[in-house]
Subunit: 647 residues, 2 copies
């Protein structure tokens, strides 16, 4: 049996099978509901209001109405007041009849603030795809060579350096005879790696286009490029549509494991959205998507497998093996990407289970393996990846930082999107805060009402660092009762918290606080990162870190001092810490512009030593030590000293 | 506007656009109507009877009714009596309203008698597809190689001779992780050319299957083979469904040129039918089509292009260039063939415009290039192809024999199918004939009523030879009035004919005759073949023909003496003429069993010299000379002598 379901405010309607949850219905109809926990009924973020088909007077125990009765989980995660207003959790409320559902802004996956531009490298231009102009002689009764043979002979005669054996893609044969004759035997051939003809065109079409895609767990950044000139013509980005299946890779892998058609659903969703993105970008530049010859994709291993429609389940359990690690060249048509018929999709190689092609992309962009200085590269996306070394040795590990640093598992956490608190200062005497909000240049001190939706990763780091400096949090991470300020208080369950904004100071109308639980989540994440870096330093045999590179959007937004204050990573002097932005996207572009970067990527994938840091005998000890906020007292250099002492 | 059309006796119904011809409607609805001329309104074979929607009293000048008025062509090709019965030609009668149409048996494309079995060669077994059993170690935290890498390493360790770089097909990655784990890391990998993994299976599945297909213009012969043993498990055949677009390649090329979606229609038709054939064959052996790893296809150039969905138009006009001549390996999924997902489709190379991969297949089967004796190979399919030479030199040409030798352009001509007259003897005194019918072992002399549908190629050759021997036809090919028999008579238009069966001697109820026009058609065909052979002999520089090989079904069915009598090809002594059956199919099988045969095919395609015989300065003279039936008087050897004299 199916029922009519309407989602407001967009008014999206559809027939939904009885018994599906509201979250499933939203996914089916393409309605955007944020579910950071992936429907695991643990985050309570997917609140929706039932407008029709639900009698308020039925109350929470209602067995009537057109939706399922309130579950135990909802009783924990929603307040009485919310129930009274008709709020329910989309992930555990089942559709039993016709309903009208309102999705509040706070429950939507928001457009991210994505740092797309990494540092601009100087690079060689030698793309994998090139165009060659060739004039052919017309066939005659004496020269009755076939069209393909004539074209290949013509190319070889003009361009002596081409490969001996030039193939022609099947798709290209279909247009070939007509194009040759329409063009009067004067054509432009598009070659893949100087050995396969993938397109033949008439006329003056010498520009070659490609797209570099950094397919992140949360966000997708894409660059439409002109290959022969190395120009980026257009940048675009979008939220990975898979966020509705969970914010982190583990939720998505779990979704695949628990649902028979889970992989197919997620794969077709990402391919569909990538096609939309490609088309939108091409259109913006006045091009057809069919003019794109190649796409380079970098992503972590789980995203890689899902984008390829390969079962990622085995990444999710020990020994965390991936299905394929080598770089891949796949016909766009096999993958379902609507670029040129014979177009190529290149995936950079993967290092190990949780260290993906995106990390390889960061490495070919930063090139630590070409340097003498020992560089620690930290890429905090939804996963934390760390590389350390130089031309002699390069180690890499993955850290289970969890999603705390990106705003999940934090009471008022959210992604870096407009309306998020991104900066916090706390007066050490009055303990009064001032805050900075994404999309608003000014710092606010509570004197005017502000429109905030939550607090993002960099805001949390800032808040915790300030709480440490002002003594609200001690070195063990415990919130200490301070009688000087009502902001440090016990919540209704008796747990300590620090109120950042009183309900009358913000338009959400709630006290926005940093809780003891939030501090613990940050402690776990930073300890994982710090311990991972320490394991790499120990294993490398090197004595010290010369430079720290923070890659990824998160690394660019955070306040480096705050990060050092909470001890997110070892210190090597503030002047030696650089944020490079989206280095993964940069690596993807480099692989698009210069095919030798792909060989470099293969070599790097062999050169780097993957360290399963959590399996190191010292990990537990390092992790435990790193849980402490000691360094706030010792200062930045104290951290460095203590680190070197342990090596 | 659309109308309801019903085809009887099958009762197939459908809505048809106003203005479509009955032939087009039949094609759309999948109703079998034979149209040897491809709808060019010249053969008059597509007679159908309008049962409803056509008023008999309207007569031939009717402007009313639900079909178009009688065309000039129909007036020529149909008799008054046929019009009176409601007969019309399907190719030029348009649908203007609801109609019920009866398709008589005589207007149906019949199941052919196909000679599938060529001579059985001894051959090497070294297929392009092989299976390798490999036991892998399970991944651990210390050995976290990816699945694909582990498999490739395992294969290389076990089978040292494999290529250095082994690729894995994308389709294969999709199943890989599950198969490896289900099989406990003990699998069978299917490799293409020892360098690409195209399938991975669990368990004891060491047999490899492939299908060799001889895709003829008229008939398709297919062989399901077990590659590792060289066994043919199952033979099957079908009429090429494209015969409804014309019997010969020119009609089909014309159809593509005249119809925007002509190529797409013919391509999807052939792919659909090949899939049906493959599935039927696999099923007959208790296999799934997914177990077929490779298909080898041989065909003439036009069929090759259409099967590949490549525009064949330019084959149809000077300088007759093909789009691609080299051998091709195409993923079955790109072609739409439903075999193994990663399966391969191999096309043998093409020689020149009208000399196709089927001729190459004949050559790799007969191997004239390995012999000292000079061999003339004649393959009369719907096109005539001749090769001549030995290990020193090999020449090949294509002859415009026209479809006469296959029964088209002959008044009572038909394909070699049950009910066709295949043998004729004429008593030299009484001029009374006896006939042999396909599907009937006995010779008939008119004493009992016989059920015949027409006369096929070998019957025509026989009839003409007998008419020459008995003096009914003179050396110029003219039917000579003989007062000794009423069977030699003038038809209603005053043209001479020989009545093979009186209307009371056969169930068609008509006088079945060989007309003067039929004799001329045979003369043109045999002269083209003979002149072609003579040009090759001249060009080769060789003095004589040591052996003649007749390839193809036609060559196997015809009476060699009759063929020599009419002078179809030069004589070299009856004992040196061999019929080898479907040598093209044999070549396809060899390429399936032994990949070195594919290299041999490439070499042959380079080695053979294509001769455009019609462009030779002597062709006209040779052709004119060969029009004569002189040899009947000179006897078999005289022909040989006269040929050698001209060299």
């Amino acid at each position: 049996m199916t029922f009519n379901v309407v989602f407001q405010p967009e008014g999206i309607k559809g027939c939904i099978q009885e018994g599906k949850t509201i979250l499933e219905a939203a996914r089916d109809l393409g309605v955007d509901i944020d579910a950071p926990c992936g429907g695991a009924v643990s985050c309570g973020k997917c609140k929706v209001k039932i407008r029709e088909g639900y009698s308020e007077k039925d109350g929470i125990e209602s067995k009537m109405g057109n939706i399922s009765t309130v579950s135990m989980h909802e009783k924990t995660l929603l307040t009485e007041a919310e129930f009274a207003e008709g709020f329910r959790l989309a992930c555990c409320t089942k559709i039993m009849g016709d309903v009208v559902i309102f999705v509040p802004d706070t429950s939507k996956a928001l457009k991210q603030v994505i740092l797309e531009t990494g540092k601009e490298n100087t690079f060689k231009i030698d793309p994998n795809i090139k165009k060659y102009h060739v004039k052919l002689t017309k066939p005659t009764l004496d020269d009755y060579r076939d069209d393909a043979g004539r074209l290949i002979d013509g190319l070889k005669a003009c361009y002596k350096y081409l490969e001996d054996e030039i193939k022609i893609d099947y798709s290209c044969l279909l247009d070939l005879p007509d194009v040759l004759r329409k063009s009067q035997w004067d054509v432009i051939a598009t070659l893949l790696d100087d050995r396969e003809i993938i397109a033949v065109e008439e006329g003056n079409v010498d520009k070659v286009y490609g797209i570099a895609i950094d397919l992140g767990t949360t966000t997708i950044a894409a660059y439409l490029c002109e290959l022969a000139t190395g120009k980026v013509l257009f940048r675009d980005s979008m939220v990975n549509p898979q966020v509705c299946y969970g914010d982190d890779v583990v939720s998505r892998i779990t979704y695949v494991m628990m649902n028979k058609d889970g992989l197919e659903k997620m794969n077709s969703l990402i391919i569909k959205e990538l096609n939309r993105l490609i088309e939108r970008m091409a259109e913006s530049c006045g091009k057809a998507a069919q003019m794109i010859s190649e796409v380079v994709i970098v992503c972590n291993t789980a995203m890689h497998h899902i984008a390829l429609n390969i079962n990622p389940s085995y990444l999710g359990c020990s020994p965390f093996t991936s299905v394929v690690r080598s770089s891949l060249d796949i016909k766009a048509r096999d993958l379902g990407l609507n670029i040129m018929d014979g177009g190529n999709v290149h995936f950079l190689p993967i290092e190990a289970g949780f260290v993906g092609a995106d990390n390889i992309a960061v490495l070919i962009s930063e090139e630590p393996y070409k340097q003498d200085k020992k560089i620690l590269i930290i890429d905090i996306g939804t996963n934390g990846e760390i590389a350390f070394g130089n031309r002699e040795r390069l180690l890499v590990t993955s850290c289970a930082t969890g999603p705390a640093l990106e705003g999940a598992q934090i009471k008022f956490g959210m992604r870096a999107a407009p309306g998020a608190i991104e900066g916090v200062r706390i007066d050490e005497v009055s303990l009064e805060p001032s805050i900075k909000i994404i999309g608003d240049d000014k710092w606010h001190d509570g004197s005017i009402m502000v429109n905030v939706k939550g607090i993002c990763g960099s805001g949390i780091i800032d808040a915790v660092a300030e709480m440490i400096k002002s003594g609200i949090v001690d070195k063990n991470g415990t919130i200490v009762k301070k009688n000087t300020s009502p902001r440090v208080r016990k919540d209704e369950k008796g747990k300590m918290e620090y109120v950042l904004l009183w309900n009358y100071e913000n338009e959400l109308g709630m006290d926005i606080s940093i809780t003891q639980k939030d501090i613990r989540a940050v402690q776990l994440a930073k300890a994982a990162l710090y311990a991972g870096a320490r394991i790499l330093l120990k294993r490398s045999g090197f004595e010290k870190i010369d430079r720290i590179v923070l890659a990824g959007a998160f690394g660019s937004f955070i306040n480096k001092e705050s990060a050092l204050t909470i001890g997110m990573f070892p210190d090597c002097g503030l002047e030696n810490i650089t944020a490079v932005g989206n280095a993964a996207g940069e690596g993807a572009k480099l692989a698009l512009f210069d095919k030798s970067k792909r060989d470099e990527a293969k070599e790097v994938a062999r050169f780097v030593e993957f360290v399963e840091s959590a399996a190191d005998k010292d990990f537990q000890e390092y992790f435990y030590e790193a849980m402490s906020f000691q360094q706030a007292k010792d200062g930045f250099t104290g951290n460095k000293k203590s680190l070197e002492e342990t090596v």
